[in-house]
Structure formats: C-alpha cells, structure tokens
Symmetry: C2
C-alpha cells in the first residue's frame, strides 16, 4: 500500500511530540456520544440555536460586504477592528461602569484565545495560577498547556472564599502569577462571587501584587437578583484584566471576544502574542459583529429575549429537579448564565453513572474534571439553556430515575 503521495495513517515516521500537558477535554468526548437525537443533552455549554439572530446576522454580513467591500476580506491589524474596539469601550462603560480606552482592548478569537494568550505571555513552566474550585475546564486546559500549576481555592455558593485566598497568600512562600476568576454565573457551578467578597478579593490581590483575570462570558445573562460590581471596576490600581465575549449574547460560531488590559506593556505583549498565534481575528466576522451591535443595533433587544427564554428554562429545570431528584441531592440556584451544579449523595460516582444515564436518554457532564486537584465524584454539571422546558422536564425525570435506581 504505497500509492503516490499517500500520507500513511499509521505513522511509519516517528514524531517526537511533547506528551505532557495537552490533555483532550473530557467533555468533548461526552458531547460526541450525547449528539444522538434520542439523548436529551444537558452536557454541552451551548446557547440555544433557535434563538440565534440568524436574520440580523445575515443582514449584517450583507451590509458589511456591500459597504466595506474588499476591506472586510483583507488582512487586518492584530489589535482588532478599530470600530469594534471603540464600541466595546462604550459598551463596558454603559453596562459595567468600567472605564477603559480603545488602546487597552484586544479582539481575540473567542474567550478561549484570551485565556491562551494571557498564559502564553505570563506563564513560565511551573508557575502557579490560583482559581476557584471547581473551575472552568477550558481555562485549566489553556493554562496547563503552558505548564502552569493551577491551585484551586475553597469556594462555596457565593464563590471563592476570601479567607482561603488570604490564608494561601499568607502561608505560601511561592508568588503566584495570576488569580483567575469567573465572578458571574460561573461555569460549572452557576454561582456568583458575592459583592463583599469581590472587594475583599481585589484588595488582597492588590496587596500581594497578584494580577487578576476576570472572565465574564455570562454577566449579561442575568435572570434574577442584582449585579455586583465587576472586579475590574474595583481594581483601582489596574491589576485586573477583563475578558468579555459575544459568544453567549450573539453567536459562539463567530468566535469574537475581547480582552481589556490595563497595563500598556502587557497589552503590547498580548498583541505580539496574538500576532504570532494567528495574525488577527477574522476581519469579516469582526465587521459582521460590529454591524450587528452598532446603533441602531439589536443586541439589547436580543439579550432581552435570551434572558426571558433562559429564565424560563432555568425555572423549569429547578422545578423538575425538585420533582424528580432523590432526597440527598442538592443543586445551585443560579441567577443567570447557562449552568447549574448538582451534588448527589456521596455514595454515587457521576462518572460511573453516565452510561446508565445515556442508556436512559439523558446526558450531563460528570463534575470530577472541573475540580482542580482532588476530584469530587458525586457532582455533575447541567446546562439549562439549550433544551426546551418540555425536554428539560423529560430529561430530568430520566436522570432522576437513574439516580433513584442507583441509590437502590
């Protein structure tokens, strides 16, 4: 078998790839299985596609090519499309009261690239990154690819415990490189960092010279309760980077997000890292987003629709959990975002239960991979944004039956 030009699949040639620190996501494998139409999946982190503003994006794409023409298809600067960066500045001032300048904004290829670039610029092998626990898996993956050692600090239903951070900083001699937090409707738990904790955490970080990366993909999706100030607005000395995205409020497939960096030298390094990584984010998608969000724009109205729908789905899931889950199970009651977090009785291992759940026609993500070091096996993550209330009811009923059966 040696057709001319054949690239053998068996790797006759031996590549000496680096083996450590690049681990495929556990979720990705589950998502593949959960794709079957018979399975009601609460496993993905997917926004509801039926709510995507397809018509508006089609109009924006047409307008961009009609008006900007070739400029919408040419190479662009690594920093991102200037008009979009300017809009982001106004948006942050309006929605968060966060004052920043256009030259502090870097457009990135989804939040994931923001995490990647921050790690690439800040992390030497062995460096420490502190975070809440459990933590966002994509961030763990991005950080570990640069051989960061991630430390998960004790967290509860109100987010990271400031006293855990304080204790760590007081008792450990190693200086960590970064504190990574998702203060709003965290993935996986759905919890928010309480307002007074935000102040305490930011003050501790400033006192110890610890940079903070605030990851805020879900902040705009609030269904109840009052917002707490963004960490970046509290970090008066400028020690906080802010990561925002259009993925959850517009469409994830466009892959447009942004990173605000207070420090000029650090911003320049991130721009250089972005240039080395992929030159720049697609000129076309950046301009489509710009056309979609600029006045008159439809973003506010669209987010209003998302909130109304996702609120209903969250309520449906919590009601279904109360109806169908065995006693001894607890769950978070998120005020926003896409996820809630379930703790089942400690006798159960959610990883081992997954085949039974899939067989029963329901999928979730076992909680273990989200725990930074010691996995807690009786936890799981549920997405409530993707399925309709009817399918949520059916899916949670199925999962409740699996849990009842497992508990005997």
């Amino acid at each position: 078998m040696s057709a001319p030009g054949l690239i053998p699949s068996t790797g006759v040639f031996r590549f000496a790839a680096r083996t450590r620190h690049l681990q495929p996501s556990a979720i990705r494998e589950i998502l593949k299985v959960a794709e079957s139409p018979e399975v009601i999946s609460f496993a993905g982190g997917l926004p509801a596609p039926d709510l995507f503003p397809v018509t508006e994006i089609a109009e924006a794409a047409a307008a961009v090519l009609r008006e900007a023409g070739p400029a919408a298809l040419q190479y662009g600067v690594s920093e991102g499309h200037p008009v979009l960066r300017e809009w982001i500045v106004g948006h942050l001032a309006r929605t968060l009261g966060l004052a920043c300048r256009t030259d502090q904004v870097l457009v990135v290829q989804g939040s994931q690239q923001g995490l990647d670039l921050v790690a690439k610029v800040l992390i030497d092998p062995g460096d420490l990154i502190l975070t809440e626990n459990p933590a966002y898996l994509g961030a763990l993956q991005a950080f570990r690819a640069y051989e960061a050692q991630v430390v998960g600090l004790e967290s509860d239903a109100e987010g990271l415990l400031p006293e855990a951070l304080e204790h760590w900083l007081r008792t450990q001699s190693v200086r960590p490189k970064l504190l990574y937090l998702t203060p709003n409707f965290q993935n996986p738990t759905g919890t928010c960092l309480a307002a007074e904790r935000r102040r305490a955490v930011v003050a501790l970080a400033a006192q110890h010279g610890l940079p903070v990366l605030e990851d805020d993909p879900y902040g705009a999706l609030r269904y109840s309760g009052a917002p707490a100030p963004a960490l970046a607005t509290l970090a008066e000395a400028g020690g906080c980077l802010y990561l925002g995205t259009f993925s959850k409020v517009l469409a994830p497939g466009l892959r447009v997000a942004w990173l605000v960096t207070p420090d000029r030298a650090l911003h320049e390094k991130l721009v250089t890292a972005k240039q080395a990584a992929d030159l720049h984010t697609s000129t076309f998608t950046q301009r489509v987003v710009t056309a979609a969000v600029r006045p008159p724009g439809f973003l506010d109205a669209h987010v209003g629709r998302l909130i109304a729908t996702y609120r209903q789905r969250r309520d449906a899931m919590i009601a279904a959990l109360e109806r169908h889950f065995p006693s001894g199970c607890t769950w978070t009651r998120p005020d926003g975002g896409l996820f809630l977090w379930v703790t089942v009785p400690p006798s159960l291992d959610t990883q081992s239960l997954l085949p039974a759940a899939l067989a029963a026609g329901v999928a979730y993500v076992p909680g273990a991979p989200f725990w930074v070091d010691r996995p807690v096996h009786n936890t799981l993550r549920l997405n409530f944004s993707h399925a309709t209330p009817e399918r949520i009811e059916t899916g949670i009923r199925r999962l409740g039956a699996v849990l009842h059966a497992a508990l005997g």
Copy 2:
C-alpha cells in the same frame, strides 16, 4: 484622576510578564508608516483587494445562513467543519496528487495558527528548528514564541541547498525537532525549491528522522514554469506535515487554512492544542469558504483571474527594475507568488535607506529581519501583487532614484 472603574493606562500595578521571545514584527511597524496614500507600498504581503471575490462571498454568506441557519453560528468541533475538510482532501488529490484522509486534516485560523500549533506541540525550550535562509518572518516569530532556536541553512535561487542540510545533520550532534520549508514562491525571496532538491531534502529528512513542515500558501499562484512535486507527496514514510490556506486564493480576512498531519497521534495532539488555543475556527467563515469552493464553485476561475493579473504585475515590476535600478542590483525572477527579493550593492543598508524611500513616496521591507541569524543588510523584499502596473512603474522609478542617489 481616579474615576470609578478607571483602568489606568500607566500601569500602577506591576505585571511580571515574560519578556523574552515575543518580539513584534518589524514589518508591522513599517506597514503603519506605509499606509499613507502618497506612498506606493511594496511592503505588505497583501493580495490585491480589487480582485477579492466580494460578490461571490456575499452570495456564499447569504446561502450559508439561509440553508444551515443556526448551525452556521453554533460552536463546532475543534477539527473543523467536516464538509470543508472533505473538500480539502479532494482538492489536494486533484491539485497536488496528494492522497490524505479527512481525519488527517485540521482546519486552522490562517496558516499562522498552523505554525503556532505545530510549535506548541513539538517544541521544548531550546529545541532546534532548521529552515531555509532567509526565511518567513511569521514562522520565525511563531517558533521563537516557544523558545525554539531557529537555524538558517544556506539557500540560493533554487531554495535550500541539500548539501547544507546534509552537512549540518552529519556534523551536529543535536537532533533538530523540525525542518520548516516554503518550497513554492517563498516569502521573502519568491524562489522555489528545485525538484531534484526536494527529493534530496525529503530523503535526508527521512534518513535522519527529521519531521518536515511544508508551508504552501502560494503554490496555486504560478505564472510561469512547471510545478515540482509537493514535499508531502515525496515523503512516503509520512514524515511531512502540509500547511495550506485560502488566504491567497480567496481572502485572507476569512482566516481559514488547514494542516494535514500524517501521524494520528500527532494529529490528535494538534487538535487538542487547537482546542486549548481557541476551541475551533469560526463555524461561519468555515461554512462561507465551503459554500464558495464547493461545486459548482468559482475557485478555479477566480485563481485563473488572479494568475492573469499577478503575472502582469510581476512582469511590470521586473521590467521596471530593469529600467530604473542601478547596475550592481540583482533580483529574483519568481514564477509565482507575491514577492521578489532584491540585492543591492553591499555598500548600501536597506534599513537606513527606508526613510529616504518613504520620503520619495515608496515603501519596501528591508531584508535584514528575514535572515535567521546574521542579517544581510543589502537586501530587500518587494511585493508585486498589490499595486497596479502603473503604480509599480512609478514606485520602482522612485525607489531606483533613491538607490542611484545613495550610490552617489
């Protein structure tokens, strides 16, 4: 000055960024200056925007959103859109006689990301990468970001000298991790690796267990001469990765390229690295490209138009160089691509001449940064694809006058 939420620009907070190995591109700074409308710029690496298929891409974008709807805006798999990957397999078989399978193709965010991911997966700090000299600057930047040490091997008008490679491999005890080559119309020189050298290089690489990365952004843009076989078609044991892109034949602003990896384990690592870097390339741009290239498609006809126009511009530039450049200057005569490479008399330094050239209304890129180690200061790169023949004539006349003046 401490408005609430102000992010200070002065960096009161001290970030401890890694300082080494992330150097901004010298070209990027020149391009900023060269943007003035009075300057005729041969500095960029830009395809001609007046040839971008704007109407066809607008039709493709509309069709994608009409037909796929929300699926064109949802998260996708890290490997890339399956239909596009399948098309790429057929395209490589048809155009290069390169046989590969869909599961060996990874869609990336422009070739630059292909370079970045290969380095991320293969390179440990201090590892060696061999390449031609001068070499593509974006690759040097990507590789050095992972602290690779790049070694430039002697090259001439027919590309890398196999005997230089052979001598290096025979006399050095350190085993390099990668041989990086742009065999077709290389950036910056415009030269091709001769057919018999390709065979020799691939044989040497196989013999020494040295993986090859073949970067082929310009191969389809051939204006004269006959093509030589792709390295990947010669590497029968599968030691060659192939990097292709839509940037030069469709539009760079879409940021869609692909990497073919013969080895399954290495491919899987690259997919994982892609996932950690940005989850996946934009679902929307991938589908737009797919709609644009699939039958009936317009890519072949479009590339035909590009070739006709760029051939004319190449001829115009070579004719103008012959008319206006002082004796003692030499240049390559590329059979394709976007660039040619000029050597001026050794008494001149093209970096020092740049201000005079810009004052005379013409821009180029000094050759020094393209040299891997010891810069050769009397070289420069000219792009011939972007300007019209008339502007090429005017620009080269201006540059010729600057050179004449400098030579006294």
